[in-house]
Amino acid sequence: MELETLYALRSPVGLPSHPIVFLVLLVLTWALHILAVYVMLGSTALALCGSVLAGGHWRRLSAAMLETAKVAVSIAIVLGVAPLLFVQVIYDPFWYVSNVLSARWAIGFIGLLLAAYWLLYYRYFRNGRETASHLTLATVLGLFLLCGFIMHGLSSEMLRPELWMRWYAPGGHIDPSGSALHDYNPWRFLYFVGLMVPVTGAWLVGYRGYLERCGERDTAYLDWVTALGKRCMSAGGLFSLLIYVSWMSTLPASAGGFAASAGSLIAVVATLALAAGPLVCRAGSGYYRPMLAAGVAILLIAASREALRLKILGGGFGYDILTYPVHFDTYSTLLFFITFAVLGGSTVAFSIALSWEAGKAQGIYTASPRIARLGNASLVALAVWLAQYFLFGFLTMIG
C-alpha cells in the first residue's frame, strides 16, 4: 500500500482530541487488559495442573485458582474493550483492514470466547462432581489461547500493509471470504502469552500475603505457594527473555533496527525485572510488592510494544499518526476524563476497599467511616453525572 492510500483510509470525520491522547490511553488500557489476561491464563493453567496432580497443596490451590480464573475472565474482557476502542481510533486504516481480511476469525473469536467462558462456569459449578474435569479445563485453556492467537494475528496483519493486496487478491483475483489468518509470529505470540508465568508467579505471592492477612494458619501451604510463585517469576522471566531475543531476530525488514533501539531495551529491562521479582518480596504487606513490580514491568512492555508499531508504521512506511486531523470536541473530552477520574476513581476505590475489608473480616463487616464516605461520594458523583446529562441534553434541544 502506498502511504497516500494509508492516509486516505483514515476516517474523514477526524479525531475529537489529539492523537497522542489516544495513544497514551491505548498503551495504558492495553497494559491493564493484558495484566488481567495473564492472571486469567495463569490461574486457569494452575487450576488445570492442580486437577491433574490432585495431591495435597495442589488440590487446594486448584480450587482457589478456579475462583480467580472465573473473575479474571470477566475483568480481562471488560478491560479489553478500552484498547479495542482506542486502537480503531488512531490505527483505523490498519486495524480495519486486518479485521476484514480475517473476518471469520474476528467473528469466530466471539464464539470461542463465549464457549470458553461458559465451559469455565460449567466446570466451576460442577467442581468435584465430575470425572473428566482435566479435559474441561484443558479445553478452556486451549480456547483462551486460541482467542489470544486470533488477537495476535490481527495485531500482526495490521503491521504488513505491503502484503495486504497479496492476501486479499491472491494472483489478482479477489477472495472476499476472510477465511485465513494471514500473518503471525510464533515468537511474538509465545512472548506475549508466556509472560503469564512470571505475572502469575507474582500473583501467587500476593495471594499468600492475602491469606496470611485473613488469618490463615497452614504455614506449610503458605510457604509452598510462595516458593511456587517465586519460581514462576524467576524461571518464567528468564525464559521470556530468551523468547524475546528470538522474536527480535525474526522481525520483518520494515522494523529495521528496532531490536537494538531504546524501545526494545525497555522491554528487555522490564522482562529482567519480572525475573528479579522475588528480590523485592518482603514479609507482611511486602508480599504485594512483586505484583506491583509486575504491573509496572507490563506497562513498560506495553509501551515497548507500541514503540515497535510506531517504528514499523512510521519508519518502515512513513505513516505519521500525529498528522491525524483533529476536530476538538470539548464536551465529550471533558466528559470522559472527569467521569473516569472522579466517578470511576471513587466507585472503584470504594468497591475494592469494601470487598477487601469484607474478605478479611469474620462475620458481617461494618464499613469504616472512610469507606462509608467513599460510598457516599460515589453516589453523589453519579447523581451529578445524571444531572449534567439531562442538563446538556436540555440545552442542546432548546439551543
Partner: protein, 451 residues
C-alpha cells in the same frame, strides 16, 4: 487522482454480513437490556430487603445476581465487543464514523461498564456479609451505573439513525448529534423494555424458589412490575413516534414492513396476558414457561425491531452520510467530510478504489465478468446476496431477467441516477455499468464457479 478511503470487502454468501451483525446484535440487545433492567429491579429489591430486614428476599437478589452473572453478563460483555468486531468486518467505514464521532462517549460508557461488572460481583458476594448501609450503597451504585450505560448508547444509536440536530452537519459537536427530539421518549421506552425483560428473567429464578408462599409473592411482584413496564413502555413508544418530524413519520409509513406494527401489538398483548395470568395464578409459573417467554421475546420482539431500524436508515448505515455500501454520500461541512459520489462518477470505482487488483482496473473483454463481480461485491453485497442465497438475493431482485442489455438499461436508468427508494445512488461509469450488467446476467452460473 483522488483516492476514496474504501476498505476491502468481506462477503458471506449464506447469511450476508448484515445478518451476521444482526444476529449478534439481537443477542446483545436481549442480554444487555435484561442486565440493565435487572440491575434496576435488584436495586429496588435489595433496598426493600434491607429496609424490611427480609433475608429470604436478599437471598433471592443474590440468586438472581448469579443467574445474571452467568447468563446476561457473560453474553452481554462478549457480544458487546462482538458487535464492534462484526460491524468492523461488515461495515468498517460506518463503524469508523460512529467511533470517531463518539469515542469519548463510548469511553465514558466503558467506565460505567467497568463499575457495573464490579458491582454485580459485589452484589452477589457481599449479600449478607456487610452492613446494610454499605450493601445499599453497592446496590445503588450498581443500579445507576447500569442505567447510565443505556443513557449513553441511546444517543449513539440515534445518531447512527439520524443526527439529533440538523445543525450537526454544519456546526458539528458531539452533543448536537447525540440529543434529538426523540431522545427522552427513547430513554423511557427502553427503560420500560429493560424492566420488562428483567421481570421475565426474574420469573425464571422465582420459579425455582422452594417455599410456596414466597414463590407466589415474588411471581406476583414481578408480574406486576413487568406488566406496568410493558404498558408504560408502549405508551412511551407511541409518544416517541409522535415526536418524530413529519418527514420521518412518512418514512416510517413507507419503509416499515407491513407486519411490523401488528407484530409489535401482538407481542405486547401476549406479554401483558402472560403477566396477568401469573398475577391470577402464580402457580402456573414453571421454569420452562419462563424460559420460553424469554426466547419468544428474543425472536418476535427484538428481531423485527432491529430489522425495522435497519430498513429505516436505508440507504445509509451511519449518520445519514455513510451509505450501507461504505460510500460517503453527503457533505458534512462541519467536519470537512465530502461526498465521494462525484469523484466515483468521474473516475470510476474500479480505477480509484484502493483494494481493486490491478488487472481489474480497466474493463476489457477478457475480464468483464470478473470486473462486474468486483463491482457487485463493492457496491451491492452489503445489502444483496450475490446469487440465490443471503439477504435480498440478486437473482430474485431481477425477476428472472437474464438479458444483459435490459439489466444495463435498468442500472443506468435507476441505479446510476439514484432513482430507487431504499437504494443508494450507484455512480457507475458506462463501462462499469456494462460489466456489472454482464455479471448479473450470468449470475447463477458465476456463483457456481466464483468464490
Amino acid at each position: 487522482m483522488e483516492i476514496p478511503g474504501l476498505y476491502p470487502t468481506w462477503y458471506e454468501p449464506l447469511l450476508g454480513s448484515g445478518w451476521v451483525l444482526g444476529i449478534i446484535a439481537v443477542i446483545h440487545v436481549l442480554a444487555s437490556h435484561t442486565s440493565v433492567g435487572a440491575a434496576l429491579v435488584s436495586t429496588w429489591l435489595a433496598t426493600v430487603a434491607v429496609r424490611q430486614n427480609r433475608p429470604e428476599l436478599l437471598d433471592y437478589v443474590r440468586r438472581y445476581g448469579v443467574f445474571l452473572l452467568v447468563f446476561s453478563y457473560v453474553l452481554g460483555s462478549i457480544t458487546g465487543p462482538g458487535i464492534w468486531f462484526s460491524a468492523t468486518v461488515a461495515s468498517p467505514r460506518g463503524l469508523s464514523a460512529l467511533i470517531h464521532s463518539y469515542v469519548w462517549w463510548w469511553a465514558t460508557e466503558w467506565v460505567f461498564f467497568l463499575i457495573e461488572v464490579i458491582g454485580i460481583y459485589l452484589l452477589v458476594y457481599l449479600a449478607g456479609r456487610v452492613d446494610s448501609r454499605s450493601y445499599l450503597q453497592v446496590a445503588w451504585i450498581f443500579g445507576v451505573a447500569s442505567w447510565a450505560t443505556m443513557l449513553i448508547i441511546v444517543g449513539i444509536l440515534s445518531f447512527m439513525l439520524w443526527p439529533g440536530q440538523e445543525s450537526w452537519f454544519t456546526e458539528g459537536g458531539s452533543l448536537a448529534g447525540f440529543f434529538g427530539p426523540y431522545t427522552v421518549a427513547q430513554i423511557l421506552t427502553r427503560t420500560c423494555f429493560m424492566v420488562m425483560a428483567a421481570a421475565l428473567a426474574g420469573n425464571l429464578i422465582a420459579s425455582g424458589i422452594e417455599e410456596p408462599r414466597f414463590r407466589r409473592e415474588m411471581t406476583r411482584t414481578l408480574a406486576r412490575v413487568g406488566m406496568t413496564a410493558a404498558i408504560l413502555g408502549s405508551l412511551f413508544f407511541q409518544w416517541g413516534l409522535a415526536t418524530l418530524p413529519e418527514s420521518a413519520q412518512l418514512l416510517l409509513k413507507t419503509r416499515l414492513p407491513g407486519y411490523f406494527v401488528p407484530t409489535l401489538w401482538a407481542i405486547l398483548a401476549g406479554i401483558v396476558a402472560y403477566f396477568a395470568a401469573l398475577l391470577a395464578q402464580p402457580d402456573w409459573l414453571k421454569p420452562s414457561l419462563a424460559a420460553a417467554m424469554m426466547v419468544a421475546l428474543l425472536i418476535f420482539g427484538i428481531w423485527p425491531e432491529e430489522r425495522a431500524r435497519e430498513s429505516m436508515r436505508k440507504p445509509f448505515v451511519a449518520g445519514q452520510f455513510v451509505y450501507a455500501n461504505q460510500i460517503i454520500a453527503r457533505d458534512v461541512p462541519a467536519l470537512g467530510v465530502r461526498s465521494e459520489l462525484q469523484l466515483l462518477a468521474e473516475q470510476g470505482i474500479l480505477k480509484s478504489h484502493p483494494f481493486i487488483p490491478d488487472p481489474l482496473r480497466r474493463v476489457n473483454p477478457g475480464n468483464q465478468l470478473e470486473a462486474g463481480q468486483a463491482l457487485a461485491l463493492v457496491y451491492c453485497s452489503n445489502c444483496h446476496g450475490l446469487g440465490e442465497t443471503g439477504p435480498r438475493p440478486m437473482t430474485r431482485m431481477l425477476a428472472g431477467n437474464r438479458n444483459a442489455d435490459e439489466i444495463e438499461r435498468l442500472i443506468k436508468g435507476a441505479l446510476v441516477t439514484g432513482n430507487m427508494i431504499n437504494m443508494p445512488r450507484i455512480p457507475l461509469t458506462d463501462e462499469e455499468a456494462r460489466a456489472l450488467a454482464l455479471f448479473l446476467a450470468g449470475l447463477p452460473l458465476w456463483q457456481a464457479v466464483g468464490p
